[in-house]
Symmetry: C2
């Protein structure tokens, strides 16, 4: 298949150990990012789009947004023509959109293995794993605080997952490492255990700078000056508040020409109005202000229109996932992003379930399908998310990652070459025959249908004899197989040493902090 790039398997100097590792390596493939050959699904008509765009400008002009603890940002806004009153920034109608116009419509994020580079924007979809959970869960050990060992396991699983294009960022929080040092170990793991692209730290501007410095070691200083090697997640403190930690990290990345996702963080009913149109208005206002500010820091820095959207259960106050209102917002935000000419981030394998059960799968499948059809270009949380994002689930990681293959298949669209038309097959088989043995089937069956690498397709009796396992049980076996057969991608030893030295030096320079 043309969309599959082989896994990089350089030998390191050709020693006997390397050759033995080579021979015993489990073969696996990594798919290229999705290039859609299907249209986007659009729920807003022209009238609705114009109302929402008009209202967002009204919000910026009349209500304004807040930049907290950030005098430099307020100066930039003043100079750009905004009305700044203490920390409140009111932006004249049209100004934010005009400032956003310098952001590129798409960009390349480089990976250390060039075959893993991703193009973010256009008709593309890049899939990245779960981000942020403090807990992990697996079938054997249950739910527990995440550790660095878990973090490394999830990076390994991501590296080996065929349909995942990106190694992600905080695949879980390594709670056994001091808060002020864990970003170093996390970056180090992404850089050494995988060769896919990754995300930088955003929890302090200094940690963003560490991320950039480590990339200079990995890619070379000149390369990082001229290319984008990280895409990092900058959440808006919705409604309409831009805090100094997130903005400070974004400033570091923008100045270094590294990409940011500027992402309103919406639990509808709490951080935004309970209506779809109202939420879209606020999302657009926040994105306009945030991306305009990004471009004030550095014109032309790559940036993504983000929208993390869930709704709230008005009975319990819990966030809910896979709901129709979140889908409508996600579809609509995609239209707003495309009208700004910007890459779009949304969706994910979202669920509120405590277990990787049917609830988890219904909610995740609803979100994944919506993500593909809404024109998302960068999908964080595409696998492994459980319990409203509190938990990274080992089993759900491989379950979702398998389902990402469905998105790849759907995105291919419908071909109508002579071979696709299959008129020879229909003529050969005729009324009442079957196609299993016909020439067209023989020539095409290997690539005709997507096939799960996990789900159960066995006859009932076989399945029953083998223990009547559910999906979670099948996934637990696969997790074990993958981790047991994992092998590090080859890396230049000098680079590896330099990265380790940087991490050691930075850690030694700081006392441990756990909050």
């Amino acid at each position: 298949m043309s969309d599959i790039a082989p896994t990089q398997r350089r030998t390191r100097g050709g020693g006997g150990a390397a050759r033995r590792a080579e021979r015993s390596a489990v073969s696996f493939e990594t798919a290229r990012f999705i290039e859609r050959n299907i249209p986007n699904f659009e729920v807003l008509n022209e009238e609705a789009l114009e109302i929402i765009e008009h209202n967002a400008e009204t919000v910026l002009q009349e209500i304004g947004v807040k930049f907290v603890n950030n005098p430099a940002a307020l100066e930039l806004w003043k100079a750009a023509g905004a009305d700044v009153d203490e920390e409140r920034v009111r932006i004249p109608r049209g100004l934010a959109r005009q400032l956003c116009a310098t952001a590129p419509g798409s960009y390349t994020q480089h990976a250390r293995n060039p075959a893993r580079n991703v193009e973010v924007g256009g008709k593309n979809l890049v899939l990245a794993p779960v981000y942020g959970p403090p807990f992990v869960r697996d079938a054997e050990g249950g739910r527990r605080y995440a550790t660095m060992a878990d973090f490394e396991n999830f990076v390994k699983l991501g590296y080996m997952s065929k349909w995942l294009h990106h190694s992600g960022g905080t695949v879980c929080e390594p709670t056994d490492i001091p808060v002020n040092k864990r970003h170093l170990d996390m970056l180090h793991a992404h850089m050494t255990l995988s060769d896919k692209p990754f995300m930088g730290s955003v929890t302090e501007p200094s940690r963003a700078q560490d991320s950039v410095d480590m990339c200079k070691i990995l890619f070379g200083e000149d390369f990082v000056q001229q290319n984008t090697v990280m895409t990092s997640l900058i959440n808006v403190n919705s409604p309409m508040t831009f805090d100094d930690v997130m903005m400070g990290s974004m400033e570091v990345y923008a100045r270094n020409n590294q990409a940011c996702i500027l992402s309103p963080f919406i639990v509808g009913g709490a951080m935004a109005p309970v209506s779809v149109a109202g939420t879209l208005t606020q999302v657009l206002a926040e994105v306009l202000a945030g991306i305009a500010y990004n471009q004030l820091v550095r014109k032309g820095a790559p940036v993504i229109f983000g929208a993390f959207v869930t709704s709230i259960d008005m009975n319990s106050g819990a966030p809910t996932f896979g709901t129709p209102e979140a889908s409508l917002i996600t579809y609509g935000a995609g239209q707003l992003a495309r009208r700004m000419g910007l890459p779009y981030r949304s969706a994910g394998a979202f669920c509120g379930s405590k277990l990787p059960d049917a609830q988890a799968a219904y909610e995740s499948a609803n979100s994944l399908n919506m993500g593909l059809l809404s024109g998302v270009n960068f999908m964080l949380h595409a696998c492994g998310w459980l319990e409203g994002g509190l938990v990274s689930s080992y089993e759900k990681f491989v379950m979702d990652a398998d389902q990402l293959g469905v998105l790849h298949g759907l995105a291919k669209g419908v071909g109508v070459t002579e071979n696709d038309q299959a008129m020879d097959a229909i003529a050969e088989v005729g009324p009442g025959g079957h196609y299993l043995g016909c020439a067209h089937t023989q020539a095409n069956f290997k690539t005709a249908f997507w096939r799960s690498g996990l789900l159960d397709y066995k006859p009932f009796e076989t399945w029953d004899e083998e223990g009547a396992r559910d999906t979670q049980a099948l996934a637990a076996v696969k997790v074990r197989q993958m981790l047991d057969s994992y092998q590090k991608p080859a890396m230049d030893p000098a680079t590896e040493e330099a990265l380790a030295a940087f991490v050691a030096e930075r850690k030694a320079a700081m006392p441990d902090a756990f909050i």
Copy 2:
């Protein structure tokens, strides 16, 4: 909510028992069929559509279709201008489409409770339960042959399911009743245990006639002459074979102005080519021939463009569900149906899983979302389907039926009234506030978000204390609650007696047959 019709709760003569039943009745709602306020998702461009339509006509003209054991059908075809060679019917280019033009673009299927009538066609979507499984499964009893008691239970669950608009047909095969008599008990159950619309028998022309005769008792003879009171499932024996049992049943229904779904039955790779375009060509050719024949029997009879589509796992030969190829075919067939101006039947809560687990939910959610977006007007198997259609699952019935609420929410689309725009809320809350208590939220929260009636939204600790139940376990509780609280909808006693007498008389007239 305006789309909810109250459950009919007539007292029968006002006796004390009836009043007590009334007081203890569990209140439940039934949603009106979906009227989409969102567009359809279309995967075929004009060129692809024209190629497929041209090829389908070529198939009809050059390869032809087979009408088996049906000399009367062959006579009708000859008279209409087709080339009939033994049982092979070759249809000149354009003739079938021309004959199909007399079929209505939409029709009303009447229920005995007029509030449950459904409009099939246009932007509407009518949801009906699983059809055909010989087995049932529940968490307690496992997998076993279905009985009439199971059948009645599924009709009761369907009657009480808020998002289900239709009682369906063979919700499971009552294997404890003789094959030649079970249609009588099945129809009787739909007619007496529910007040939603239902399907007729298609396993013999005489059983189709029994279905019509029972409807005459239920609705009155004149009413049935002038109205459609059944929608029944006529499968094509794909590829391109129309057998005498299915066609004979269809003839009965068409002559009585009752609706049929003319449905190619496709396991891609076995009954159709392994390509999407090739399968769509065959589906269209079969539908054109089948619906043209339906209109030859009676011009103007209501009929639905059907497409049951799965793909095959080329390793094991098992049918697979929720796959991207099946989705592409379903989206494409919807476009072909709309270009014929006909109602469209496809999709369902399809899965291959043996259990109502994550696999079942991923696959079902993929299919349900596709069904909504592909413009399906009548969705059979919308809940309860398990194990490739071999099993009707009690738990999955209520799990899927709950998810049908998501489709209702999505179909609403995005409103942009002043209240929807929520500019007052955004102004009231401002940067850094929250929306939980604001006036707009207070006024709208009750109807703002779809809420599952089944899934777990509880805090982790509560959920854990309550037994850490998965979705299947929660569904098992709900099944029991529903069946325990079921109450028959009121019915005129004379009608009920007449129906029972008809069933008894017909049964007495035949020896039992078990094959």
